[in-house]
């Protein structure tokens, strides 16, 4: 049992700590993918769902099509931007939580002792 305890301590401050970083990276990458951030940045100024108006020869028609297409691109831009911002918020949140975790990880045994001591403080 004592051997196992030492093995646990060795893992906690060795491979376990490394694993924590890998997991944090994995979660951030997952959020990035879930929000399709790369695809959204690449298509940032594309029309929303390809909704476009074909231009015709009249000046009025051309002007109208241009306005319509601008609106479509603007809608697309806003939706994408908001989604990217949501992803960034999530990543920041995960990042902060992860940072707290990373700081607490090596201190965990001390935190246990402190929490026991807390009964008497």
């Amino acid at each position: 049992m004592l051997m196992l305890f030492f093995e646990f301590i060795t893992w906690w401050y060795g491979r376990g700590f490394t694993e924590l970083f890998i997991k944090v990276g994995f979660y951030i990458k997952t959020i990035w993918r879930k929000f399709s951030v790369t695809a959204l940045i690449r298509t940032m100024f594309d029309p929303w769902r390809r909704i476009t108006t074909d231009t015709n020869k009249s000046l009025q028609g051309m002007g109208r099509a241009m306005v319509d297409n601008m609106v479509s691109r603007l809608v697309g831009f806003v939706v994408r931007l908001l989604t990217i911002l949501s992803a960034v918020v999530c990543v920041v949140f995960i990042g902060v939580v992860s940072l707290i975790f990373i700081i607490c990880w090596p201190l965990a045994p001390i935190l246990v002792i402190l929490s026991v001591a807390g009964i008497f403080l």
Binding site: M3, L4, E7, F8, W11, W12, R15, G16, E19, T30, R33, K34, F35, S36, V37, A39, L40, T43, D46, W48, R49, R50, I51, G76, V79, R80, T83, A108, L111, V112, I113, L114, S115, V116, A117, G118, I119, F120, L121
Partner: protein, 799 residues
């Protein structure tokens, strides 16, 4: 042999420790720990409950333990290296059993230690092997373990997981055991069969260890750059979204190289339309689903194709909508516009001949599609059978040229068995029966041999699904598969029963109860049937093919009838064609009329399809048109004919008997001159070929040519007795019977004997003389129920 070592290493200690906890325990611990931490912190800070800090401490300890259990203890793989100098069990054996074994155990002790492992049980169950069968044959000597471990080390190197698992160990014990080699042999298996079962178990184990991560599918913004598809949504089924929503898995399709070819061609600039060409059942649709899964998953897919969605157009829905809602042109243009504008759609036309009017032609969109494909960026996949593809190339070469042809071959034996292995797991869930490895092999073998309407793997999948209805003590065995095959094909597949064996051994005697003489013909037919049921024959040709030559009325047709009545239960199991009805070239189409079960009517091929294990009697073949005889060549040679609808019909389970009266006069003349049949048989056959009555290649294709000789008066007397016997059978209902005196019988023979017509006049004579007398006496009341009538020559002469 490599030496064996074992130490109580860290890995072993960890494996032992983790074995005390069930799967999912780590998750529960982590959740409870978080609850304790949050509750403790809240109670301490907001309610100032000092002892609550202990909750936090316990929570942190729980969290540390939970992470250790989940991230380290449960993930403790073996390390395999084929070049090692010694077999260190503690690093090579899988995590679930490494703490149960050591280097001081005999083979029997090793098996006893791992017997509860699901991998060991998997092997036992899939081979219907009782563990005691193996245990009792294993050595109790420690020294014997070395061979087992060495064999296990070699086998582990062939598995995808590369570790000595319980399954690997059981297989090693079977293969290192001479007594089990006998068991393998007696069950018709070899080393490769056992390794095949292990690979099945190991591929499942690999899936348990490394489940597919399919949580991404492009994320929420995947389709925001693609257009809406209202018309397409109405007339198509989005395969990709069905995969995402149903979390479907098409990894069992197993055609990696074809999938790669499809991806490469779809990514090409210019012609990016695929024509998937293959027989019905080769898995064209499954491949398209597999492609859709790969595209929507996005991993390993080039940017241009990533997250593209495959939409299958429903021809039925299209044809139903035409006229009611809009014209075909309007609907189809809407579909193409949607697909083009969306930019992320690949259209899929299953059974494309339904769209292009080259087949049965429900709708014809070829004229609309051609300009659209030439001018827009639409990608399209269409599936064709080989015939339909050829038709499209002939009818509309411009459209065909827009496709890149991808040939889909039927899956081979290994691929099919691998597909069946994946599918059987799902089938087992429904039926609660275990599919054995031998059943999978039998499924491939029997579907390959007996089912001809589809290609592999579809026909094997169909057969396995049907076999699930015939479990034997909760197992699906090769007998279950044979039973299913018998039900589907009306063929005898299972081994002959004791009763049938007796019948087969005495077949000649049974036939001779109806047939007089012609011993050679009776024997060759009986031999063919015995070879068939014993499995000693070429399975790529008919069971037997015979040409019976001789005058009329000597028993050629009667032999076929007798065999049908004796062995095949009734004369109806004989499919007879009078070839004099097939004398013109136009009769070829009639002979090859559709054999599909859905088609109304009962064509010759349809009858064979429904009853392949039967006698096929082709009477008077010399009268058939030469084109029909050419078909006969194919039937005799390959055992297959293809009907007008392209369905293959097998004659591989049939006995084909052709009869001919050609040269009858010569046979009669030679026999009358006192010659034996054997004396002039070769010369006679050569003359038939020389006179162009039969082509040499046709004659060569028959297994046996049998000459029937004219009946003598003595034989005709026996025929008369047989006919009287059949008359008595008919009179059984009236409770009367008749007998004839020898003089009366001799009188009948005199009247019924005609060397030109054989036994045929005899039936007429008996009908005229005997049956008429009996009829009159029954009506006059002379012959009462329960009485017996003896007829003498005088009784017959007055008629």
């Amino acid at each position: 042999m490599k030496p064996i070592t074992y130490s109580n290493s860290t890995r072993v200690r960890k494996a032992r420790f983790v074995s005390y906890f069930q799967d999912g325990f780590a998750k529960v611990i982590i959740i409870i720990a978080w609850i304790l931490i949050v509750a403790g912190v809240c109670a301490y800070l907001f309610a100032n409950i000092k002892p609550a800090s202990l909750f936090v401490g316990v929570g942190i300890v729980g969290l540390m333990f939970g992470f250790w259990l989940k991230w380290d203890l449960s993930d403790n793989p073996a390390t395999y290296n084929k070049d090692i100098s010694e077999i260190a069990l503690d690093s090579l054996v899988s995590n679930d059993i490494v703490f149960l074994i050591n280097d001081k155990q005999s083979p029997r002790q090793i098996l006893s230690a791992i017997l509860d492992s699901w991998q060991a049980l998997f092997i036992f169950k899939r081979y219907q092997l009782v563990p005691a069968q193996l245990t009792t044959t294993l050595s109790d000597e420690l020294v014997a373990s070395q061979a087992v471990w060495n064999r296990a080390f070699l086998i582990a190197g062939q598995t995808p997981v590369k570790e000595i698992s319980a399954g690997v160990l059981v297989v090693a014990m079977i293969l290192e055991n001479p007594k089990m080699a006998e068991w393998l042999g007696s069950h018709g298996m070899d080393i490769q069969d056992i390794i095949g079962g292990l690979m099945w178990e190991e591929s499942l184990w690999q899936r348990v260890l490394k489940p597919k991560d399919r949580s991404q599918y492009g994320g929420i913004g995947r389709d925001w750059s693609a257009g809406f598809t209202p018309v397409l949504d109405q007339y198509g089924q989005n395969i990709s979204l069905a995969i995402v929503e149903g979390n479907l898995d098409f990894s069992s399709v197993k055609r990696g190289h074809v999938l790669e070819q499809m991806l490469v061609n779809l990514n090409k600039q210019g012609r990016s339309n695929l024509a998937m060409v293959g027989e019905v059942g080769v898995g064209k649709t499954a491949l398209v689903y597999s492609l859709a899964e790969k595209l929507i998953d996005g991993k390993g897919v080039l940017g241009n194709l990533k997250y593209r969605q495959v939409v299958q157009i429903d021809s039925g829905m299209l044809s139903a909508a035409i006229g009611q809602q809009a014209s075909l042109e309007a609907i189809f243009n809407g579909i193409l516009n949607d697909a083009s504008r969306a930019g992320n759609i690949i259209l899929y036309f299953d059974e494309a001949q339904l769209f292009f009017g080259s087949g049965s032609g429900e709708v014809d969109v070829a004229s609309i599609l051609l300009p659209a494909l030439q001018s827009s960026n639409i990608s399209l996949i269409a599936s064709f059978t080989l015939d339909d593809w050829h038709k499209l190339n002939t009818v509309n070469p411009s459209l065909a040229s827009l496709f890149v042809r991808v040939d889909i071959e039927p899956s081979d034996r290994d691929q099919t068995i691998s597909i069946l292995q994946d599918i059987s797991i799902n089938l087992e869930k429904k039926t609660n029966a275990i599919v054995t490895f031998k059943a999978l092999q039998a499924t491939y073998d029997l579907s390959e041999r007996y089912l001809h309407n589809k290609a592999m793997p579809a026909k094997a999948i169909d057969l396995l699904s049907d076999s699930m209805n015939y479990p034997i003590e909760h197992y699906i065995t090769e007998e279950s598969v044979a039973k299913a095959t018998e039900m589907i094909t009306n063929t005898k597949v299972n081994q002959a029963s004791a009763e049938e064996k007796v019948q087969l051994m005495n077949l000649e005697g049974l036939i001779h109860k109806r047939m007089i003489n012609q011993s050679r013909a009776v024997q060759v037919v009986s031999d063919a049937l015995r070879r068939s049921r014993a499995g000693v024959r070429n399975t790529n040709r008919p069971v037997g093919s015979f040409l019976f030559l001789g005058p009329t009325g000597v028993g050629k047709t009667e032999l076929a009838k007798s065999l049908a009545a004796t062995y095949f239960e009734n004369e109806n199991s004989m499919n007879r064609l009078d070839m004099s009805e097939y004398q013109s070239n136009g009769d070829v189409a009639r002979l090859l009329a559709s054999a599909s079960k859905e088609d109304v009517g009962s064509s010759f091929l349809q009858k064979i399809n429904q009853n392949p294990f039967s006698i096929v009697l082709l009477d008077e073949i010399e009268k058939a048109h030469p084109d029909i005889l050419n078909l006969l060549l194919q039937m005799l040679d390959e055992g297959i004919l293809t009907d007008t609808a392209g369905h293959k019909v097998s004659f591989k389970e049939a006995i084909i008997i052709c009869t001919s009266n050609a040269g009858a006069n010569e046979i009669r003349a030679q026999i009358t001159a006192g010659k034996n049949l054997e004396d002039f048989e070769d010369e006679f056959i050569n003359r038939l070929i020389d006179q162009n009555i039969f082509r040499a290649e046709l004659i060569n294709r028959f297994d046996e040519l049998v000459l029937f000789r004219p009946l003598t008066k003595e034989e005709l007397l026996q025929v008369a007795n047989l006919i009287i016997g059949s008359v008595n059978e008919e009179l059984q209902g009236k409770k009367v019977s008749i007998t004839l005196t020898p003089a009366a019988l001799a009188h009948l023979v005199e009247l019924g004997y005609d060397p030109r017509l054989g036994a045929r006049p005899m039936r007429r004579v008996i009908s005229r003389l005997v049956e008429n007398v009996v009829a009159k006496r029954l009506l006059s009341g002379e012959l009462k129920p329960g009485s017996q009538l003896t007829l003498d020559i005088n009784d017959l002469q007055g008629v």
